[in-house]
């Protein structure tokens, strides 16, 4: 109900305001242009995601001081702490960034955003910004029309800056003209009550505009035009700082538990710094006056003094909160508990991960590993072993010698719950994410989708194999029983090797050794065929049994080949280019046959 009437009410109020005062219209238009500039700037920086930004984020966040610096520098350059927060939440959700590092980035972003106040107060108010805005807009729009993504990105950034400058210019002009008609300082509230009220106004303005930067610019321009008092402007800045957490909280709705914890940290940090700033506001004002004297800022330049205040209380917050980060992490982990992950529900495909190409690829890769683990569990169990036994170093032949495959294990039900459902979720996620991306990420998503299909095929092949495995276990022919036991040992031993490779993928070359496993599968098939022919000739098994065995070895090899093929796409977490190179030099089945044949020749020659 409230939502339904809110927008028309705002529209009506604005329309009345525009009709009543041309100056109000100019200020409101200034804010609108400014916000549009922020959106354009964000769009511009988004063009550079999918490579550079992610690489920087990964490299520049392994230490706390680095993640703090990254937050400061990135927000200073992009002039948007929201974009930095959204990227951080997305990376955290995909598991590419730890919670402590992410908290460091968000703390840094809080300090980085204060540079905006410096720019506006120190530069924007003293220079005719519209003179810079016009050429920026013209060049920006020309570049936006270009085909190349990088040029378009620069275009959006330039146009964004142009709109920001133009917006500030209009706000400034509006307040200057306003001065002649209405004196807003009549509404000034002195003392502590004023601090509280204007802090709330600052929070409300930031929540409505979704940008603390906009609130701050509005405050600075109003302050410069002497439309608000210095004390009230300080309170507005504090409010803006608290209000900005709303963006992060909204972003966290689509994130997983880690993303929500980060939003919690953001809220705690900004509330704590806000509370400190409110309680010690007079001491801070005294400190600002002292610092302004040292920095050579005139005592009457309240706009610059507001920038000093903004930086100072955020810096104070960082100094106080950074030593508490590990405790904060513990607290957040205790309060915001991770939901129990099940084999049936997707664990990594969260909405926040879809925001950026790299995070989307990583989320799909992790979910594919989830499917792989489920498939491995199903196969291992159907063949009569637990996952723990598979991973132990115990002799497989001895382990399954006196153990039949479980007859009550419903592969189909397990497949529906642990593989098919997750694969469907991956397909939906990819279909939502793939549009309009760079080739490298799209290609990796394509490989990961194929990996999912391989895993489905592996479990389907198991379904066919299981039927005869169970029948053979009850057979009176010892040769047939032994041969099916061999099938189980062969499959399990290769899966064990595959798991070992997964756990020790230490360098970029190890993953290529998966091709060696494919050779082993081919050897299993070859040896099995030769042995089966021998068994028929010696009349130890019937022709009907032989054909079943040949078919079932085919299913066993299909299980293995599909698991290996899936592994070659999902075990690698390296860069897209490297993954592409690894994919390109992987051998095809014909090439593998050739390598196998050459090996056989060498062995014959050696004899």
């Amino acid at each position: 109900m409230l939502r339904k009437i809110l927008l028309p009410t705002i529209f009506a109020l604005l329309a009345y305001g525009f009709w009543a005062s041309a100056d109000f219209k100019e200020i409101a238009a200034g804010i609108a242009i400014f916000l549009f500039g922020m959106l354009s700037l964000e769009e511009g920086f988004r063009a550079f995601t999918g490579g550079t930004l992610e690489l920087l984020l990964r490299r520049a966040t392994d230490r706390l001081w680095k993640s703090l610096s990254f937050g400061i520098v990135a927000t200073t350059l992009m002039q948007s702490s929201s974009l930095v927060s959204v990227i951080t939440i997305s990376f955290l959700s995909a598991g590419l960034l730890g919670l402590s590092e992410s908290i460091g980035v968000v703390f840094g972003a809080n300090l980085g955003t204060t540079t905006g106040a410096w720019l506006v107060a120190g530069f924007g108010l003293k220079v005719k910004l519209s003179a810079y805005a016009m050429p920026m807009l013209v060049f920006g729009v020309i570049l936006i029309l270009q085909r190349q993504k990088a040029l378009r990105g620069i275009g959006y950034t330039l146009a964004g800056l142009g709109f920001l400058f133009l917006g500030i210019h209009h706000m400034k002009e509006g307040f200057e003209a306003f001065k002649g008609t209405i004196d807003l300082t009549r509404f000034a509230l002195p003392g502590f009550f004023g601090v509280m009220v204007f802090s709330l106004v600052g929070i409300a303005a930031t929540v409505i505009m979704q940008s603390s930067h906009a609130t701050l610019v509005l405050t600075i321009t109003a302050l410069a035009a002497e439309q608000i008092t210095y004390d009230n402007a300080l309170a507005l800045a504090i409010g803006a700082n608290i209000g900005t957490t709303v963006t992060a909280i909204l972003g966290a709705f689509g994130a997983n538990v880690q993303g929500r914890r980060l939003a919690g940290a953001h809220l705690i940090f900004n509330l704590a710094t806000g509370a400190i700033a409110i309680v010690f506001i007079y001491q801070l004002v005294w400190l600002v006056d002292g610092l302004a004297g040292v920095l050579g800022i005139p005592a009457t330049d309240y706009a610059l003094k507001l920038a000093v205040f903004h930086t100072l209380f955020n810096l104070l917050g960082i100094v106080l909160m950074v030593p508490l980060i590990s405790r904060l992490v513990n607290l957040l982990c205790r309060v915001i508990k991770a939901p129990k992950t099940t084999a049936e529900a997707p664990a990594h495909l969260v909405r926040a991960a879809i925001e950026f190409p790299d995070t989307a690829v990583e989320a799909v890769r992790k979910e594919s590993i989830h499917i792989y683990e489920n498939a491995l569990r199903i196969i291992t169990h159907a063949l009569g072993l637990s996952r723990k036994e598979l991973l132990s170093g115990e002799d497989l032949e001895r382990l399954i010698a006196n153990r039949d495959p479980p007859s009550d294990f419903d592969v189909d039900a397990e497949y529906q719950a642990g593989v098919k459902t997750l694969y469907a979720a991956v397909i939906v996620f990819i279909s939502r994410a793939a549009f309009g991306w760079q080739q490298a990420q799209s290609q990796r998503l394509h490989w990961l989708r194929d990996a999912g299909r391989d895993l489905v095929e592996a479990v389907k092949a198991l379904k066919h194999l299981q039927k005869n495995l169970l029948a053979a276990a009850r057979s009176s022919n010892p040769n047939l029983r032994r041969e099916y036991q061999r099938v189980r040992v062969r499959v399990l031993s290769l899966l064990r090797e595959l798991e070992q490779i997964r756990r020790i993928v230490a360098d970029d070359v190890t993953i290529l050794s998966l091709d060696a496993l494919k050779l082993e599968v081919a050897a299993i098939d070859r040896e099995a065929t030769e042995r089966i022919y021998r068994l028929i000739n010696e009349e130890r098994i019937s022709p009907a049994m032989a054909t079943s065995l040949i078919n079932d070895y085919g299913y066993a090899c299909a299980i293995l080949n599909n698991m290996i093929a899936a592994g070659s796409s999902i075990f690698v977490a390296s860069s897209h280019e490297l993954a592409g190179a690894q994919h390109a030099i992987r051998l095809t089945s014909e090439e593998l046959d050739q390598v196998g044949a050459e090996g056989d020749h060498r062995r014959v020659d050696a004899l």
């Binding site: 190349q148 993504k149 990088a150 040029l151 760079q438 080739q439 490298a440 360098d507 970029d508 070359v509 290529l512 050794s513 091709d515 060696a516 050779l519 860069s575 280019e577 490297l578 592409g580 190179a581 690894q582 390109a584 030099i585 992987r586 051998l587 090439e591 050739q594 390598v595 050459e598 090996g599 060498r602 062995r603």
Partner: protein, 81 residues
């Protein structure tokens, strides 16, 4: 000539496809270098291996790595990779 070269480089940088291609080639070159080192290591290991079964396994690994490397070198020679 210098300006022309500079402009060419600039155009190449802003052309997404050619930049991606260049990065892919660089990655492949780096990977091939690592593979060559690995192959040498395996050959060295083979010389000191006494167990025939283990030696055969290493030999198979070398053959595979060599075939993959050969494929990679051939890909690098292709213009459209």
């Amino acid at each position: 000539m210098k300006t022309k070269k500079l402009l060419g480089k600039l155009r190449e940088y802003f052309d997404d496809q050619s930049r991606a291609r260049k990065e892919k080639r660089t990655s492949l070159k780096k990977l091939l270098k690592k593979m060559r080192i690995k192959e040498k290591e395996l050959k060295h290991k083979l010389e000191h291996e006494r167990d025939a079964e283990q030696a055969a396994k290493i030999e198979a690994k070398i053959a595979l790595l060599h075939a993959q490397r050969k494929k990679g070198v051939a890909l690098l020679k292709e213009d459209d990779f």
